[in-house]
C-alpha cells in the first residue's frame, strides 16, 4: 500500500509536478505514515533519479528546478508533522546566500539556491541588493556553514570581499566558509579575496558546497 504511494511520490518529483507532490504528502499524513519515511523513501528517490538522469545528459536544468520545487512543496506539507514527532531531516549544511549590494541580478543566485536546496542543504536566500552586514548577521542568526555571494557586475564584485571582511569582523571566520560566483568572477579573484568556494555554474556550486562540508 505505502509502496504504491512512495512510487507515486517518486514519480511526482520526476515529473516536476508540485501540486501532485503536495497532494500525495497530504495523503501520507491522512494515512498516518511517518513523514520522514515518506521523504526518504518516496520523494528523495525521485530527486536521486532526476540527479542521475541529469548527470548522464538525459534531463536538463529545468527538470532539476521543477523537481526541486515539487520537493519543497511536499516537505512544506510534511514539516509540521515532523516537528510534532520530534524528527527532522538530516541536512547537509546551512547556506546563506544572496546577490551583493548594488547588484540586482537574480537568476544565477536563485539557480544555485534551488540546486543546493534540492541537494539537501538548508538554504536561506537573502535575495538581491543585499547589504554587506546582512550576510554576516544572517549567518550568525542561523549558524550558517556557508555564505554564498553572487555578483554580476565588475563594480559590485568588490562587495564579495567586503562580505568576507564583515564575517571576519564578527568573528565568524573561519567556521563559516564563503563561496563566490557570477559572470565576471574568476578563480583567481576568489583566491585573492580568500573565498574557499568558487564555481562557474549551479551544478558546480553544489559540488563545491559538498566539498566544503566534507561530504
Amino acid at each position: 500500500m505505502s509502496e504504491e504511494l512512495f512510487n507515486a511520490m517518486r514519480q511526482s518529483i520526476i515529473d516536476g509536478e508540485a501540486e501532485e507532490a503536495e497532494a500525495l504528502a497530504h495523503q501520507a499524513l491522512e494515512q498516518g505514515l511517518d513523514p520522514l519515511e515518506a521523504i526518504n523513501q518516496g520523494y528523495v528517490a525521485g530527486v536521486n533519479y532526476v540527479g542521475a538522469q541529469f548527470g548522464c545528459g538525459e534531463m536538463f536544468l529545468p527538470d532539476l528546478v521543477l523537481a526541486g520545487e515539487a520537493m519543497k512543496a511536499a516537505v512544506l506539507v510534511l514539516e509540521p508533522e515532523m516537528q510534532r514527532r520530534g524528527t527532522e531531516r538530516q541536512m547537509l549544511g546551512k547556506v546563506v546566500l544572496g546577490t551583493v549590494k548594488g547588484d540586482i541580478h537574480e537568476i544565477g543566485k536563485t539557480l544555485v539556491a534551488t540546486m543546493l536546496s534540492a541537494s539537501g542543504f538548508e538554504v536561506h536566500d537573502l535575495g538581491v541588493d543585499v547589504p554587506v552586514a546582512k550576510f554576516a548577521e544572517k549567518a550568525r542568526e542561523v549558524n550558517a556553514d556557508i555564505v554564498g555571494v553572487s555578483a554580476l557586475l565588475t563594480t559590485t564584485m568588490v562587495g564579495q570581499k567586503d562580505v568576507i571582511e564583515a564575517l571576519a569582523d564578527m568573528g565568524l571566520r573561519p567556521n563559516v566558509k564563503v563561496m563566490v560566483g557570477g559572470a565576471p568572477v574568476t578563480r583567481s579573484w576568489a583566491e585573492e579575496i580568500g573565498a574557499e568556494g568558487y564555481s562557474e555554474d549551479a551544478i558546480g556550486a553544489v559540488a563545491e558546497a559538498k566539498r566544503l562540508m566534507g561530504v
Binding site: 541529469f54 545528459g57 536538463f60 536544468l61 529545468p62 540586482i104 541580478h105 537568476i107 544565477g108 539557480l111 557586475l153 565588475t154 563594480t155 559590485t156 568588490v158 559572470a183 565576471p184 574568476t186 583567481s188 579573484w189 562557474e200 555554474d201 549551479a202 551544478i203
Partner: protein
C-alpha cells in the same frame, strides 16, 4: 558615406525572417504585456515621469503599466536616423539604415597577452591597448568598452576606461558600464571636452550609451537614471535586452522576443517622455540558456535567428539597432568561434542591423583575445563582401570579354579582368597556399592574427589627443574620486 571606416554600405542582400504579420503579432503581444503585466522601473524619478504621462504606477513594486497608445505615440518621437560622431570626423558613423558598422565586444574581465599568451585580469592599460588596436583596424567602426579597468576604483572605473580609449583612438566610443547618475554626469562632461562644448556635443555625440535591462521585464534603477542624464544632453542611448530562453524568458523564441521587446521599448519610451526627440536605439543580444549549466551560451542557431529578428523589430519602431553578434562562447579562437561569429554577424547583417557588437572577446564576452579581434575583422570583411551581393549590368555581364575568349582559353589576359579583379575579396588570414608551403611551418590564421596584433601594439600611433583636453579629462575623473 562612412568615411574611412570599412562599413557595410547599401547592402543588396536581405532575409525574410519575420513576416509583417509576425512583427505585428509580436508588437501587439508586447503592448499587452506592458499594459497588463507591466515592467519594473526601480527609480522614483522614472516612476514620476511615467505617472505624469498617464501610466499606472505601483510605488511598492515599482511596476509600471502603460497603455499601448502611450507607448506607440512616444516611440514616434524618436529620431529614425542620426550620426555617431568620432574624434576624427572622417570616422563618423551615419546610422541611417544604409550601413552596418562593426564595434568591439565588452565588457571583459581577462586578457590574453598577445606576446606571452598568458591570461591576466584586465586593467586600464588593457583598455588603452585594445583601443589602440581598434584604432588601427579599419573594419572596426567604434569602440565599445571592451574590458573592465579593474585596477581603478569602482566609482570611477568606467571613466578611466573612457579616458584610456579617447587617448588611444579617434573612433566613436560606446560605453555599457556606466550604471549611475553621478558617473554619467562626469562622462557627459568628458564627452563635452572632446566634442568642444555641450552644444557641440549635442550636434556631434562622440559618445553613445548602452544600458542593460534586468530580464525578465525589469530595469536597473541606476541604469535608467544614467540613461536619462545622457538623453537630456542628446547622447544616443540604447537599452539592451539579453533575454535567455528557458531562464529569463520563455523557452520559445517568439515569447523571448516579446519579453525582451517589452523591456527595450518601455525604456526607449521613458527616454522620449522625459526628453522628446532624444536619439535612442534598440539593443539586443537574446540567447538561450544552456540547458545543462544554466549558463549564457554565446552562440547557437537561436542566437543567430535573434540576431536577424531584432533589426526587423527595430525597423518597425524606426530606430537604429545595436546588435550583439560575434561574442562567441568559445574558449579559444577556434572552430567554434569561427562558426558562431560568422553566422551571428551574417544573420544580423542580412536584416541591416546598424551596429554589430562583439569583436574580439571569447568565452561569452569575458576574455579579450587580440587574435580573435583580428580574426573577427576578417570574418566581418567576408560578410561585408557578401552583403554587396551580385551586381548585374552590361559591364558585369562581360559579354565582350566572353566573346574575346570564346570556348577554351582563359580570362587572365583580359583587360576586363584587370579592371575588375580587385573587386574580388582578398584573404589576409584564410590560408590558400599550396599544401607543401603550409607544411614548412604549419602556421595559419591564429599566428598571422597574433603577428598583426603584435605589430599594431608595437608600432601603431593613434592621432594624439590634445594634451590640454587630456588634462581636462583627468581633472574630471579626479573630481569624481575626490567627491566619492
Amino acid at each position: 558615406m562612412a568615411g574611412k571606416i570599412k562599413a557595410i554600405s547599401n547592402p543588396r542582400l536581405s532575409l525574410n525572417v519575420l513576416s509583417d504579420e509576425d512583427v505585428q503579432r509580436i508588437h501587439t503581444a508586447t503592448l499587452d504585456i506592458i499594459e497588463t503585466v507591466g515592467v519594473r522601473f526601480p527609480s522614483e524619478k522614472a516612476l514620476d515621469i511615467w505617472e505624469t504621462n498617464g501610466a499606472t504606477v505601483d510605488r511598492q513594486t515599482m511596476v509600471v503599466k502603460a497603455p499601448g497608445r502611450l507607448i506607440e505615440d512616444a516611440l514616434k518621437k524618436a529620431p529614425p536616423a542620426y550620426t555617431l560622431a568620432a574624434r576624427d570626423p572622417a570616422r563618423d558613423l551615419p546610422l541611417d539604415g544604409k550601413h552596418v558598422f562593426l564595434g568591439t565586444d565588452g565588457c571583459g574581465v581577462e586578457v590574453i597577452d598577445p606576446f606571452t599568451g598568458e591570461r591576466h585580469r584586465s586593467s586600464k592599460q588593457d583598455a588603452a591597448d585594445c583601443a589602440r588596436v581598434a584604432d588601427a583596424l579599419d573594419e572596426i567602426g567604434f569602440w565599445w568598452a571592451m574590458i573592465s579597468a579593474q585596477d581603478c576604483p569602482p566609482e570611477s572605473r568606467s571613466l578611466h576606461e573612457l579616458e584610456a580609449a579617447w587617448l588611444n583612438t579617434t573612433k566613436h566610443l560606446q560605453t555599457e558600464s556606466i550604471v549611475n547618475d553621478r558617473e554619467m554626469r562626469a562622462a557627459v562632461e568628458m564627452a563635452a571636452i572632446i566634442a568642444g562644448g555641450r552644444d557641440m556635443l549635442r550636434k556631434r555625440p562622440v559618445l553613445s550609451i548602452m544600458q542593460c535591462t534586468a530580464c525578465p521585464l525589469g530595469h536597473d534603477g541606476g541604469s535608467i537614471e544614467a540613461g536619462l542624464v545622457a538623453a537630456e544632453v542628446g547622447l544616443p542611448v540604447g537599452y539592451m535586452t539579453m533575454t535567455s530562453c528557458a531562464s529569463t524568458a520563455p523557452a520559445t523564441m517568439a515569447g523571448n522576443l516579446v519579453v525582451g521587446n517589452a523591456e527595450v521599448i518601455s525604456a526607449l519610451v521613458l527616454m522620449q517622455l522625459a526628453h522628446p526627440g532624444a536619439p535612442v536605439y534598440y539593443a539586443a543580444a537574446q540567447t538561450v540558456m544552456d540547458l545543462r549549466t544554466g549558463g549564457y551560451t554565446g552562440g547557437g542557431p537561436e542566437d543567430y535567428l535573434f540576431g536577424a529578428a531584432s533589426n526587423v523589430l527595430a525597423d518597425f519602431y524606426n530606430v537604429p539597432l545595436s546588435m550583439g553578434a560575434f561574442a562567441t562562447g568559445a574558449k579559444e579562437p577556434d572552430w567554434q568561434a569561427a562558426v558562431d561569429n560568422s553566422f551571428s554577424s551574417f544573420m544580423a547583417s542580412l536584416t541591416g542591423s546598424d551596429m554589430l557588437l562583439g569583436c574580439g572577446l571569447l568565452h561569452g564576452s569575458r576574455i579579450l583575445s587580440y587574435e580573435m579581434m583580428v580574426m573577427d575583422c576578417e570574418i566581418y570583411s567576408i560578410v561585408r563582401k557578401m552583403m554587396d551581393g551580385i551586381v548585374v549590368n552590361d559591364d558585369t555581364l562581360a559579354l565582350d570579354a566572353i566573346r574575346a575568349v570564346g570556348p577554351g582559353g582563359n580570362f587572365l589576359a583580359q583587360k576586363h579582368t584587370k579592371q575588375h579583379m580587385r573587386q574580388l575579396w582578398q584573404p589576409r588570414l584564410i590560408d590558400r597556399r599550396p599544401y607543401e608551403v603550409w607544411e614548412q611551418k604549419r602556421d595559419g590564421a591564429r599566428d598571422w592574427a597574433r603577428e598583426k596584433a603584435q605589430d599594431i601594439l608595437k608600432n601603431h600611433q593613434p592621432d594624439p589627443l590634445d594634451p590640454k583636453l587630456a588634462a581636462e579629462l583627468a581633472r574630471i575623473i579626479a573630481d569624481v574620486e575626490r567627491n566619492a
